[in-house]
């Protein structure tokens, strides 16, 4: 099986070489197999978003290297799509124009792009909203459009930074099901950030748990449960208990550190 993303000893220090240098990630080794669903779990501020930015090519690692399909990542590329923590649709474009923004950067004619938009929006269940403007949509719909926009690029790697964090529990559960459908249909690998243990257990092939800052991989927990998953199955409960235990130790540590930092 080929490796869609490979992180080798990756470290990131923000503002390196200045008095405000700030180490966010240290020595991250991670291989994501083709078509695998990886969830990154860790306390707030441990560098999860930072890692996604590095894989997306928006920021450069200060040490180590990142490969995607054996090619070093040296900048953003359309086959690695990032879905952001907050909505990031362009308010001045309609839904379908947003969805095909990436395609419009080339010279694909509008009619063809609209066809693609129709197709992808159908997949996210928003065919009817094709001519709406982002401000006319609810938060959940906007995130689905953001997913559609990523899908339109036919990415091999989907990077998702807490895409459902702002949604209520029921909507989030729906969006998770929907995401799993999309993932199965697209064959892309997914790197999904969350700090919800339930979400991690519901989605992941493997859960990567990070330590508090500087983020290092503390443990990689495989989730060998058949899909669709029953959240109340005893195995799922055990996994949640295990993840809660390692995570809460890290959160305690993070709090203590932040207190110390603030005091000094």
């Amino acid at each position: 099986m080929s490796i869609s993303v490979s992180c080798r000893n990756v470290g990131k220090t923000w503002a390196a070489g200045t008095p405000r240098a700030h180490e966010a990630l240290r020595g991250v080794d991670l291989d994501v197999a083709d078509g695998e669903f990886i969830v990154l779990l860790g306390p707030s501020g441990c560098g999860k978003s930072t890692l996604l930015y590095l894989v997306a090519g928006l920021e450069e690692a200060t040490s180590g290297e990142i490969l995607s399909y054996d090619t070093p990542v040296s900048g953003p590329a359309p086959d690695r799509s990032l879905i952001f923590q907050e909505t990031s649709l362009f308010p001045w474009l309609s839904v379908w124009q947003n969805v095909t923004f990436g395609l419009s950067l080339g010279d694909m004619p509008a009619a063809e792009r609209r066809k693609i938009a129709e197709e992808v929006l159908t997949r996210v269940g928003l065919r009817a909203a094709i001519d709406k403007r982002p401000h006319e949509l609810s938060g959940g719909m906007r995130q689905r459009v953001a997913v559609a926009r990523a899908l339109a690029m036919e990415p091999k790697v989907l990077l998702m930074d807490e895409p459902f964090a702002a949604l209520d529990v029921q909507t989030r559960a729906k969006m998770q099901d929907f995401l799993l459908d999309i993932w199965r249909g697209s064959g892309a690998s997914v790197l999904f950030v969350t700090h919800h243990i339930d979400e991690a257990v519901a989605l992941a092939d493997q859960v990567v748990v990070f330590t508090s800052r500087p983020g290092q991989i503390k443990e990689i927990v495989p989730v060998d449960l058949p899909r669709p998953r029953d959240p109340f199955a005893p195995e799922a409960q055990d996994l949640r208990r295990h993840l809660t235990a390692i995570l809460s130790a890290e959160v305690d540590k993070a709090f203590a550190e932040q207190e110390q930092e603030a005091a000094s």
Partner: protein, 302 residues
Amino acid sequence: MAYQATDERGSSAAPSGFQALLGRFKGPAVAFGWTIVSVGLFALIWEFLWLVGLADPKLLPPPHVFMGNIGEQAQYFNTAQRWQIGADPTAGPTPYEAVAITVFSSTMRVLSGLTLAAIISISVGIAIRYWKMVENLTLPTITLLAPVSPVAWLPVAIFLFGIGNAPAIFMVFIALFFTMTLATITQIDSVNVNYLNVARTMGASKRQIYTRVILPAILPGLLIVLRLNLFGAWMVVLIAEATGVGYGLGQVIMLARNTFNPGLVFFTIVLIGLLGFFFDFGLRMAQRRLLYWLPKGAGSLA
């Protein structure tokens, strides 16, 4: 009352197109109503002060006096041609036409200056952020000149352009250019970094990021800056006209001052006020048209 009655009857049936239309114009109509009330109240107080003898009609003629004899005021509105030596005083436009020509000239000067300033300062602002070298070469000078009052540029305008339309347009341009350029830069710097990152992950070039993301993202803020500077543009044009760039509302005020004609002063002030009001209204409509995505209220300064 009539409106309410239709409303009640209509509520049982499907809302008609007429009602939708009424609903759409209700907001602006109410705002306009309050404008009339506000201005009317002010005029009433003035009239009252005149009635009880507190406002001397020779110095502060009440509205019914200076608005009552528009024909008489209009005769002072002269276009440059009528003042030229040797011109036949009976030739040329009638007084009413002269008012129209004067208003039109001042308006066109403001509009031209505004358009020029908007286009050039947005271009310069973007160029400054796009090419570091442009920033190095121009930004210090622009920042140095920004706090200079537009009035200080008046002699420069006359040295450069003599009299006529050009110096007045130049004055409007200069009054807006520096602020608008600096505002453009500020707006560019505050574009949501997520927008830029989305474009970058989709493979947009620097040029595409500027034309497809930054430009639409900064327009709302810039239109507000333009609106805030609109009144400033009017003031500058009046100053330019008063100092003899030719005919125009500013020149009429100056004439009124020199001939001690308070009625003419107030009449002209009313004209200027109305023009400014409709200009602002027009820009606000343009803003709504262009920036349909902004929720009502936000960014409209309404």
